[in-house]
């Protein structure tokens, strides 16, 4: 009995903090989705009205389309790069510390700093990228200023900023692959690509899957980069779900509709988060 009392004493602060800032907000978020909230009168129940307002908003479709496009682009560009980088780095026996330091350096920069820096690099006039392209005699780009390249420009920023973590996690996984597997492959006369396909990838598939799920969950919630770099433009080409949520909550003070949108986003991501938790906990056991 005394043991339980002591234990709950140690747990009490965490229980209070989780209750107020985690568990209760989860319930409140669901409740809010079906309410109209203003800070003057008490909230009214409005049934599915918030969801109907969202579905009627042309930006709702635009935001989801943009977010999915962003997620897919980020997978196509950003997902293979850290893996390939790690495979190459794992072969190199010189300057190891230098490579690790450099690839992780951008991860340490505050995202707002990275976003503002890249906005300056992307400047179609004297910006770094167009200057380099001009110097090489290559065609330049409008980058963030054109609705056809704005999204890919954002993907490049987040790939640069975040690939350090993924690269180093892969690198750690690659180092656990037993050398005998490669030796056996050598005896079978396998080339480099065959070894990557038959040894490297199967041996790291758990880490690959884990990072894939994490990346989907993170990119679907992209906010800072479009908020700082484009504000959703040009022509709403970078309005993401979270940017729309922010507008509903903090421009229109419509917290009910913003909550309804959170609930939809949660539903969309629940599958990925659930799989992620299942896989990581299984790997722990």
């Amino acid at each position: 009995m005394r043991r339980h009392v002591t234990a709950y004493g140690f747990l009490s602060l965490a229980l209070v903090v989780f209750a107020i800032f985690s568990w209760w907000p989860i319930v409140r978020g669901i409740v809010l989705s079906f309410q109209q909230v203003n800070f003057v009168t008490s909230p009214d129940w409005v049934g599915w009205e918030n969801f109907e307002r969202l579905f009627a908003d042309p930006l709702f479709v635009v935001a989801w389309r943009n977010t999915l496009f962003f997620t897919i682009l980020a997978l196509v560009i950003g997902f293979g790069v850290p893996f390939l980088t790690a495979v190459v780095l794992n072969e190199l026996r010189h300057a190891k510390g230098y490579f690790r330091l450099l690839v992780y350096l951008p991860v340490m920069l505050p995202p707002v700093v990275t976003a503002l820096l890249w906005k300056w690099f992307y400047d179609p006039g004297p910006g770094l990228f167009n200057s380099v392209l001009r110097g090489l005699g290559l065609p330049t780009s409008q980058w963030l200023d054109s609705s056809s390249t704005s999204m890919i420009s954002l993907v490049l920023v987040i790939t640069w900023a975040n690939m350090g973590s993924a690269t180093l996690i892969y690198l750690a996984a690659l180092q656990t692959i037993p050398g005998e597997l490669y030796e056996a492959a050598d005896l079978d006369g396998a080339g480099i690509l065959k070894k990557v396909w038959h040894v490297t990838i199967p041996q790291t598939k758990f880490v690959i899957l884990m990072l894939l799920l994490l990346q989907v969950v993170a990119t679907m919630q992209i906010f800072t980069e479009p908020f700082v770099m484009t504000g959703g433009g040009p022509e709403e080409s970078t309005v993401t779900v979270l940017l729309l949520l922010y507008r509903y909550a903090f421009y229109y003070n419509d917290f009910g509709t913003a909550s309804a949108l959170s609930l939809i986003l949660f539903g969309a991501l629940a599958v990925f988060s659930f799989l992620y938790l299942k896989i990581t906990r299984k790997a722990d056991a």
Partner: protein, 277 residues
């Protein structure tokens, strides 16, 4: 150890050289470009093609940026937010993980399960309800509005608990026979053994607080209370470009210094169970 390839033939040196060049160009040169850019006057920054080294060095930009944006204030605010976030999180999660791991109270598993269930939620799903809760508690424009929500970190509770689980019971038994109570056992036995995991969790807590943007954006409507990220974003549209660049460099320095100082801990922490930087 055997890897994909072996030997240090011509191909190896070619790949090494290409990788060195690519890495330096991709990760180091942009940062050098910014460092140098802050020394150039705005007119020089607007010219095409750009100068590589500043034609006129204006080292005053760093000082001017500091004064123009009142960066001292925002450094202090960010520092308070980050250190407080670390202290509160430690005070919340260390005793909780200890209780769940070693004291094993009734319903302990249910509580751990309820905590882990919060990880299912995308971090931003709670944006609106937590914001409203902070409004109710009158915690807007107060660093505590960042500290306490950040302390509800189920992943770190889990990481600590998993580490504590591996500490042998015999050690605790010995302490108990010596008359140690639960608190002294935590302070004298558990914490010293757990220094590696505590270092990792601490560094990541500070880094996450320093890098965060969306929460400080919501919690600090009052410009005087804002953190560096929020303030820089607010100043960006109407600050001379050289001063903005200097400000961006200055705001990054503490994190770069932290990285250089604790590189080993940080890189080890990455693989400690999905702690994402």
């Amino acid at each position: 150890m055997r890897t994909l390839t072996r030997g240090t033939g011509k191909l190896y040196w070619a790949v090494l050289t290409i990788t060195l060049v690519l890495f330096t160009a991709a990760f180091l040169l942009p940062l050098v470009w910014v460092l140098l850019g802050a020394f150039k006057p705005p007119a020089e920054l607007a010219q095409q093609p750009p100068t590589i080294l500043p034609r006129t060095w204006e080292p005053g930009a760093y000082v001017n940026a500091w004064n123009y944006m009142d960066l001292g204030r925002f450094f202090l605010n960010t520092f308070v937010v980050a250190i407080g976030a670390w202290a509160v999180q430690m005070a919340v999660i260390v005793p909780a993980a200890y209780a769940l791991s070693k004291l094993r109270p009734i319903f302990g598993n249910v509580i751990m399960g309820l905590m882990l269930a919060t990880l299912m939620l995308p971090a931003t799903a709670l944006l609106v309800p937590v914001y409203l809760t902070l409004t109710d508690l009158d915690l807007l424009n107060n660093p505590a509005g960042i500290w306490f929500p950040a302390a509800a970190n189920a992943l770190n509770v889990y990481l600590l608990k998993r580490f504590f689980d591996q500490i042998p019971e015999e050690l605790l038994e010995a302490a108990r026979i010596d008359g140690a109570n639960a608190w002294t056992t935590l302070v004298r036995i558990i914490l010293p053994i757990s220094r590696p995991i505590l270092a990792v969790v601490s560094i990541f807590a500070v880094v996450a607080a320093w890098k965060d943007f969306i929460w400080p954006l919501l919690v600090f409507p009052d410009p005087a209370k804002q953190t560096l990220s929020v303030a820089l974003q607010r100043f960006a549209p109407d600050t001379p470009i050289n001063l903005l660049l200097a400000g961006l460099v200055l705001a990054s320095l503490p994190m770069v210094a932290l990285f250089l100082a604790f590189q080993r801990h940080i890189l080890a922490g990455l693989t400690a169970g999905g702690v994402k930087g």
